[in-house]
């Protein structure tokens, strides 16, 4: 059993938990993910690792409630336990295994959209701690849904964090792509590498822009998974005309090569109300309350 030490709501339907998981905490790196199974009957849910403490042997997860299984995770309180926490899974961000002198020569732009802000945080923290220049853009629907702004500022400094909201209720008004243009075109900032994590549609448009601007871009893919260990093949994606598996080949891929449209098609129908209704119509009540993660 894996004990939950801290559990709080960050925004509506968005939760943070600190969990005891020694096997994950002592080995995980930015970019990797883990799998949680709340109880014996629950699904295996892939979640990004938002933070880790090697000494305390804990990991921090941030997630949204979409379907029944994520609600089951959210219902847990500090002091409760998960049946399983498995990881670290997937590959660390590329720079983690590169010579640090090479990495330090680059200026990094990190873009987090919505819940994607959480997995961007350990990347920002790692890069800053290793003396790498980094700017962070946080994009979110509105002020209410903004998460981890303070943590990000603490990690990289206020002058390196740029927040934008879709509805203009806080900070900048508009999409992350507008901020990228502002930073590069108006403020003359130069970036050698971009890491973009968030909704598929955001990553798609982010890559479209960074390609025009000539900034190589890594994206983190979060498709449907079952085992997460390189066995089931549910997480397959088309990357550069090849079939790749997010759990063992990723989750980070060269954004220029990812076929976002086919990936979105696979996600969309499971993740939206419309899609779930369609699924119920086509597959019957197999989704047990709209799992959102099948």
């Amino acid at each position: 059993m894996f004990k939950i030490l801290e559990a709080r709501e960050l925004a509506e339907k968005t939760y943070l938990m600190v969990v005891e998981a020694p096997n994950v905490a002592h080995a995980c790196e930015p970019g990797q993910f883990l799998i949680v199974r709340a109880d014996e009957e629950s699904e295996r849910i892939a979640l990004t690792i938002c933070d880790y403490d090697r000494d305390k042997e804990t990991v921090t997860i941030v997630f949204q409630t979409i379907g029944e299984s994520s609600y089951k995770i959210a219902e847990k309180k500090a002091g409760d336990s998960f049946a399983d926490v498995v990881g670290p899974l997937g590959n660390a961000a590329e720079y983690v295994n590169e010579p640090i002198e090479e990495v330090r020569k680059r200026h990094y732009l990190l873009v987090g959209g919505g819940l994607g802000t959480a997995p961007v945080y350990p990347q920002a923290k790692w890069l800053k701690e290793h003396g790498v220049d980094v700017d962070v853009i946080i994009g979110t629907k509105s002020h209410d849904t903004l998460i981890m702004e303070k943590e990000m500022i603490d990690a990289v400094g206020e002058e390196h964090v740029f927040v934008t909201t879709d509805d203009g209720s806080y900070a900048r008004h508009g999409m992350v792509t507008a901020v990228i243009e502002e930073l590069v075109k108006d403020m003359g900032r130069h970036y050698d590498m971009c890491v973009s994590i968030g909704p598929m549609i955001m990553m798609k448009f982010c890559v479209k822009l960074t390609k025009e601007l000539g900034i190589p871009t890594t994206v983190s893919m979060n498709p449907i998974m079952v085992d997460g260990t390189g066995m089931c093949g549910a997480c397959r994606l088309i990357v550069g005309d090849e079939v790749k598996f997010a759990c063992v080949d990723g989750p980070e891929f060269d954004g220029y090569k990812v076929d976002f449209d086919s990936a979105m098609k696979r996600m969309k129908l499971y993740k939206t109300e419309e899609g779930r209704r369609l699924l119920e119509y086509q597959e019957g009540k197999t989704h047990k309350g709209g799992c959102g993660n099948c």
Partner: protein
Amino acid sequence: MAIEVDMMKKVPVAEQDPKERAKNFDEVCLGYNEEEARAESTRCLQCKNPKCVEGCPVSIDIPGFIGKIKDGDDAGAFEILSAASTLPAVCGRVCPQEKQCEGNCIRGIKGEPVSIGKLERYTADWAREHGITPVKENQKKGKKVAVVGAGPSGLTCAGDLAKMGYDVTIFEALHKAGGVLVYGIPEFRLPKDKVVAKEIENVISLGVEIKTDYIIGKSETIDELMDEQGFDAVYIASGAGLPMFMHIPGEQALGVYSANEYLTRANLMKAYRDDYDTPINKGEKTVVVGGGNVAMDAARTALRLGSKVTVVYRRSEQELPARAEEVHHAKEEGIEFALLTNPVEILEDEEGFVKGIKVIKMELGEPDASGRRRPIEIPGSEYEIECDAVIMSLGTTPNPLIPGTTKGLDTSKKKCIIADEETGATSRPGVFAGGDCATGAATVILAMGAGRKAAKGIDEYLSR
């Protein structure tokens, strides 16, 4: 009433009625009762030079245990069986006996071979029902061995090493031990709680520790196991990995599954039960592509979930790699076979869901490298099969987690870990490997055979 035995024929075994069982997940074959087992045991010729044993990957003394059944000594039969096999109740159910022990049986020349698999199952089930567990040795070697993967190969190797007196720890990536026995082979062929869990308990009772949720190659590398955790040797049995696809148009459509995904949802995650959360596509018409045991398992699972099922296989019935019994059962249950047929495209509707599969007819040409006649497309013979789910069962490539994180571990072109067939030794001293991760996808019993040989190999290495 004594059973009249026809020496040319197997004593028939009771099975659930095909119409009934097509709607449930209960075990299909009910196994021999005592009387039937005693009757069948009289058919064994007790050969001086038993060919059946040569056909058994773990070299069970087959005439020996059958002789004990004949004598009414079921405990004696189990003692002989468990000396050679860690998972006899599993093997009795899933081994391709017709290609191994029973395929070599002298009885089989003129009539039907002795039903060795069913007798093995009888003995193992008898022992379990009577609470008899394998004998544990007390001698301690004082050396630690790590086993990666709690599937049939890892469990066998661990059981054998524990019997020799080694301290054995198995590291399992999933939340449950058993490997393909729990995620792959369905309940109706291999009951999980009644059979698999009990056989794993037997391995634990030998002193083996199993750590689940533990990813070797990520959480800990092989080097860390040996250098930091003090393991003297490691056996890698990480099993089959990623499923293969055909690379035809439409494979990313909604409703296309690998057999691994489909079966994992159904078996490991128990998606067919309402009290478990993991969903599964209950299509109305399912097409399964492939002809192996996994394809049969996927097809029969889909059938039980309420779908009509067609198996599409590019060669003829003769080449079907699945166990004869599985094909026979599948047909009895109403699964259709489109043989000498190969998919060319998966058709999707405007929402991205599968709506059919376009296939082409094949004919057999000259034998290929595998010795089987090569299937060749018949031009212009394409047609469509309507369906709303497609399950690809084309085999797997080995799990990449360990080769990718272990320096100096040689792999083949097909990404299999290169291991000595007799000892399991790899290019790294002290590191052994076997089962699907070394051979590519094969059977439970071959993986067990490799585990057994590796246990001997490890013992020899550590005794030097």
